[in-house]
């Protein structure tokens, strides 16, 4: 810009007397100095900044059909980043969060992943919220050598293991295992499986069908329904007609969880209804109303930490997270926000241990043992990038509109 102005002035420059010439020269040099200063700062500033802040990216479904996952996750991350920065950051380095709202859209997740890795050059990415999105960006993170701490449930995220990809929610294979263990205790051997046609639903269905024979459980019917289905009474009728079915397992997200429960009880069918660990929010119990009574599902212990004995290491962590979240945002904490909590804390612990070096942090996470999180106690290994076992789950049921541990 300064060059253009200089050329314009040059032609009339010769027509001016010497005083005006001096004035123009001074203005010109002022402009050039400003430009030089701006250029220097824009080069120096990022160098200065990167010495001070650690950029952590997040791709979360804050709005859209999975906002019950992404909303609490984003809020938890913001809360934790604020707390951390107020306490001085990680070894003096402040943490800067860059949260992108993918709306549970895998295409957006892909473009945000590329943006965060290539343009923003983040240290690590927390998220995405859903299994479908995570699978789409697994390779991008791996090739970009950027740590990905996913908050999604499907086992295929960490199996086969990718060096840079971790996940904090409990594995859906362990959820299926927990359900089958409980069924064995209840003497149930023949079941029906219903699932919604989402990434989560399909992954869960695969796990259920795969593990059932190991527990001697026979899946008589398996049906997939549209995630936007508004009424399931026809498929309930079909299942009811098969008198051998002793229990139904449903693997979906809202609102199908509530709709199925209502349809089953309205049809007068009393068999036990098992849900996935996606049921762990009291809002779904309210949505299902009286039909939600007696639903059995596995979930982390965040749902009711008070029933834990004081000796349980998770109790203190859970109670503090719930108290902080509810006082900051005025809404009830859910297990989903807890997954983001675990991801952030694990990442920060590793960075605090070995410093902001991607390769060292990756190895540090891989070897982290005994980390007490909201989802359970994590024991990572190079082969196990999830770190949680079946005991991360407790078996819950709904009684009088509240969650209680199943006896």
């Amino acid at each position: 810009m300064a060059v253009f102005t200089a050329q314009k002035e040059h032609f009339s420059f010769l027509n001016l007397n010497w005083r005006e010439k001096m004035k123009n020269l001074l203005t010109l040099s002022k402009k050039m100095m400003l430009v030089a200063a701006a250029l220097t700062l824009s080069v120096i500033a990022p160098v200065l900044a990167s010495a001070e802040t650690i950029k952590i990216g997040a791709i979360l479904a804050v709005t859209g059909p999975a906002s019950f996952l992404g909303g609490p996750e984003a809020r938890t991350l913001e809360m934790l980043a604020d707390q951390l920065n107020q306490q001085g950051g990680l070894n003096g380095n402040k943490v800067e969060l860059v949260i992108k709202d993918s709306g549970a859209n895998p295409e957006k997740a892909i473009s945000f992943a590329k943006q965060l890795i290539e343009e923003e050059k983040v240290f690590a990415i927390i998220g995405p919220s859903t299994s479908g999105e995570t699978m789409k960006i697994k390779n991008i993170a791996e090739e970009g050598k950027t740590i990905l701490m996913s908050c999604a449930a499907a086992e295929v995220i960490v199996n086969p293991v990718a060096k840079y990809v971790f996940k904090t929610p409990q594995k859906d294979s362990h959820a299926a295992q927990k359900i089958f263990e409980t069924m064995k205790e209840m003497g149930i051997t023949k079941i029906a499986v219903l699932s919604g046609n989402t990434g989560f639903g399909n992954a869960g269905k695969d796990q259920l069908l795969k593990s059932a024979p190991e527990f001697g459980i026979d899946v008589l019917i398996s049906e997939v329904y549209d995630k936007k289905a508004t009424d399931l009474s026809a498929v309930v009728a079909k299942l009811m007609a098969n008198k051998d079915i002793q229990a139904v397992v449903n693997w979906s997200i809202v609102p199908a969880q509530g709709i199925l429960a209502k349809n089953m009880r309205q049809a007068g069918w009393d068999v036990p209804l098992f849900q996935s660990h996606g049921f762990g929010n009291i809002k779904y119990v309210e949505a299902g109303g009286a039909a939600a009574e007696g639903i059995i599902f596995p979930a982390g212990r965040l749902l009711a930490p008070d029933v834990l004995p004081d000796s349980n290491p998770q109790k203190a962590v859970l109670k503090k997270y719930i108290a902080d979240y509810e006082s900051t945002y005025g809404e009830q904490a859910s297990t989903f926000g807890g997954h983001a909590f675990d991801a952030f804390k694990i990442l920060c612990k590793a960075i605090a241990q070995v410093g902001p070096d991607k390769e060292k942090v990756r190895v540090a996470i891989e070897n982290m043992k005994g980390f007490v999180g909201t989802g359970g106690v994590f024991n990572f290994t190079p082969e196990d990038h999830n770190g949680l076992g079946v005991d991360a789950f407790a078996m819950w049921t709904v009684k009088d509109g509240k969650f209680t541990i199943l006896k």
Binding site: A234, P255, G258, A261, R265, A291
Partner: protein
């Protein structure tokens, strides 16, 4: 197939079918008066449900439903006055694009106002697990409410269009706009009235089905597609045809589960639509001559 299973499928099919039929009737009213397919019809259903749920917090349910229907009718009229009235002989394609745009607008506004949580009106009678025994099968009393409301709406509309002067004026508009204007009928107001009527019926449907299907900001889209399918199947503009078409589609969808996996349910509905469009585009109950006279 036992009698019990048969009846259960039948009632499930009737439930779906009646819901589609009410949306289709909304399509038909506007189509009859103006020749426009209003793709925002599904949004009227959603608005009725959402408004009733919000109003239900401060007033008893029947009053909340009444006001929800009223407000939706006003919104329908406003849409017509702001976006449709001042257009001079628009082409059909232009109108379709405009109504699609309106449906997106309303949906995003609803997302803004109510967020994306899933809500429901309380059941009119009993709660989520009450059921009545009918012909050997158990159904929720809400299903009977849906069937009853739809029947009353269909009867009311038939009487309205046949015997009241206002209804006859609307039919005159649809038969021949110019002749109606020459007879002194204010066609512009007739169009507004048709939007209001359509919106009101959609809103009432939204309130009545909300306990069964839950309501969220984007529940209108799927309903609009199914409702449009049913309107085509029954013959565009034919309300009795819409009800019959709705029942046919709903029952086919319900019984299809006994033969093919549940995942194909929506594919079956769209396949039927395609077959009807190829083989008998004026619908099962429409007349081919009348269809030829209309633009669409």
């Amino acid at each position: 197939m036992s009698l019990e299973l048969f009846t259960q499928y039948l009632f499930a099919g009737i439930t779906y079918g009646i819901i589609y039929a009410i949306v289709a009737i909304g399509f038909n009213i506007i189509y009859n008066t103006t020749g426009i397919i209003n793709f925002a019809q599904g949004e009227f259903v959603m608005l009725g449900g959402m408004l009733a749920i919000s109003l239900n917090r401060v007033m008893p349910m029947p009053v909340a439903i009444f006001f929800a229907v009223l407000v939706t009718m006003v919104i329908g009229a406003l849409i017509e006055i702001c976006f449709i009235r001042w257009l001079k002989s628009p082409s059909v394609l232009r109108m379709i694009i405009i109504t699609i745009g309106l449906s997106i607008l309303i949906r995003e506004a609803a997302l803004h106002v109510w967020g994306d949580s899933v809500r429901a009106l309380p059941y009119f009678i009993g709660n989520e697990i009450t059921s009545v025994s009918l012909f050997g099968t158990k159904i929720s009393p809400q299903v009977l409410w849906v069937i009853g409301t739809c029947s009353i709406v269909v009867v009311f509309l038939s009487l309205f269009f046949k015997f009241t002067s206002l209804g006859q004026e609307m039919r005159a508009c649809s038969a021949n706009r110019t002749a109606a204007t020459l007879c002194g009928i204010n066609t512009k107001n007739m169009v507004t009235l048709s939007f209001m009527l359509s919106a009101g019926i959609g809103a009432l449907a939204g309130c009545v089905v909300s306990p069964i299907t839950y309501t969220e900001y984007d529940s209108g889209t799927g309903l609009a597609i199914k409702g449009f399918t049913v309107a085509i199947i029954g013959g565009l503009g034919n309300s009795i045809g819409a009800v019959a078409g709705g029942l046919v589609l709903g029952i086919i969808e319900a019984f299809s589960i006994s033969l093919v996996p549940l995942a194909f349910q929506d594919a079956i509905a769209i396949s039927i639509l395609l077959i009807i469009l190829f083989v008998r585009p004026h619908g099962l109950f429409g007349s081919s001559e009348a269809a030829r006279l209309k633009d669409f």
